[in-house]
Symmetry: C2
């Protein structure tokens, strides 16, 4: 049994994935999030997949390249959704809620909690510049929508600080730490179900939205169905 380029497998398939690179990413995702990035060797990843180390290097020349690919997966779906949502008509409050719902759902639903790797000092290296740029672009979409939403919420608003407009992005990323706490048994999981909606609500509350959330939630769901159906982890 061979899967594209590289050597034949040593064993039958051990990891989920349609291609060898997908299997490598799945094994690395598990090891990086449960053992740590620095503590994981490419040899161990290859072993878990059941391929030779040389075959792994064929797909990913270094361990860093594997992490680059994994991190890209945590931000690119939200960035694509943000672009479609930003272009959609409608109130910014609804659009911000929709983006936050999509993003939290995605950060929570991926197989491994890869966002937990965002604070690794290793990410300071140049190789992660494209990931940092993507995340900064995503943050920019949040801030733009937050600025518009602030204007909608208080048409006579006084000063809106950049730190205020950055709150929704921070609130959404807090889903990463919450997920880590649940996976470590520090928080009960069941009571945190539906937390995507709660965090999206909180993004608006943080900006000063004081009315009922019911209408916003319904419009946010409808917007997501229109803009990101098929690409959405919600479906």
């Amino acid at each position: 049994m061979t899967t594209g380029p590289g050597r034949p497998r040593l064993t039958s398939q051990r990891r989920p994935g349609q291609t060898t690179p997908e299997e490598i990413l799945d094994a690395a995702g598990e090891l990086f999030t449960t053992k740590g990035f620095a503590a994981t060797s490419t040899r161990r990843i290859a072993e878990m997949v059941g391929i030779r180390q040389a075959s792994l290097y064929h797909h990913f020349p270094t361990k860093e390249e594997i992490l680059v690919a994994l991190l890209e997966e945590t931000v690119s779906p939200a960035l694509a959704a943000a672009q479609r949502i930003s272009d959609a008509p409608g109130p910014a409050t609804v659009r911000l809620h929709a983006l936050a719902t999509f993003d939290v759902t995605q950060l929570t639903a991926t197989k491994w909690n890869l966002g937990a790797l965002y604070l690794l000092p290793e990410l300071l290296s140049d190789r992660f510049e494209p990931f940092r740029t993507q995340r900064t672009l995503l943050r920019g979409h949040y801030r733009h929508l937050a600025d518009l939403a602030l204007a909608e919420i208080a048409a006579d608003a006084g000063t809106t600080s950049p730190a205020l407009a950055d709150l929704p992005f921070r609130i959404v990323e807090s889903a990463i730490a919450t997920r880590a706490d649940i996976e470590r048994g520090l928080l009960p999981g069941p009571e945190n179900e539906g937390a995507a909606g709660l965090l999206a609500d909180t993004c608006l509350r943080a900006l000063g939205w004081t009315n009922s959330m019911d209408e916003i939630r319904a419009e946010s769901r409808a917007l997501l169905a229109r803009t990101v159906t098929g690409t959405s982890p919600l479906n």
Copy 2:
């Protein structure tokens, strides 16, 4: 020049700290947050302090013990403040705001951003159980104050979910990721000054507080002055 037990120093003092253990913690704090925990050796820590490795082991038998001590410093001041604030009279909204202000200020003002280590898989080991317990106790204080605040904000409140009552703790800890972004040059620092107050405000906004924050902020400051003066990083 000797500093308590252990061998004499190889060199003059290189790290800030009144005792050798403090110097070791300072050097380790830098290395763990800038190079990574797994990537840092006790040899490198000893070198940075200018002591022999044997002397380091005299104070901390393992690298884990150093991390235990560092993490304890990130949570014990807030836990002590939480106990005093919980015992203080007054509205829970004010007390929650005061605790959040204290905690964000402390997470932001420490020399190294040690909270960035919270998601390390290494923290799953038994040795970190006391740290996890302290953090869970702190979270419990937040949840208790949040439950009381929710009752104050909406006396006729319907369902209050545990996930809702957990929001303030999550919002406060988001200061860790924001600080990491600032230190990495991904966010401008100056515009995030005063963010402690903003995050404390957000804790109440998340729970549905819709009135002006001015009075709460003033009462929160006064409460902190009464309860944690001298122990506070605010002074």
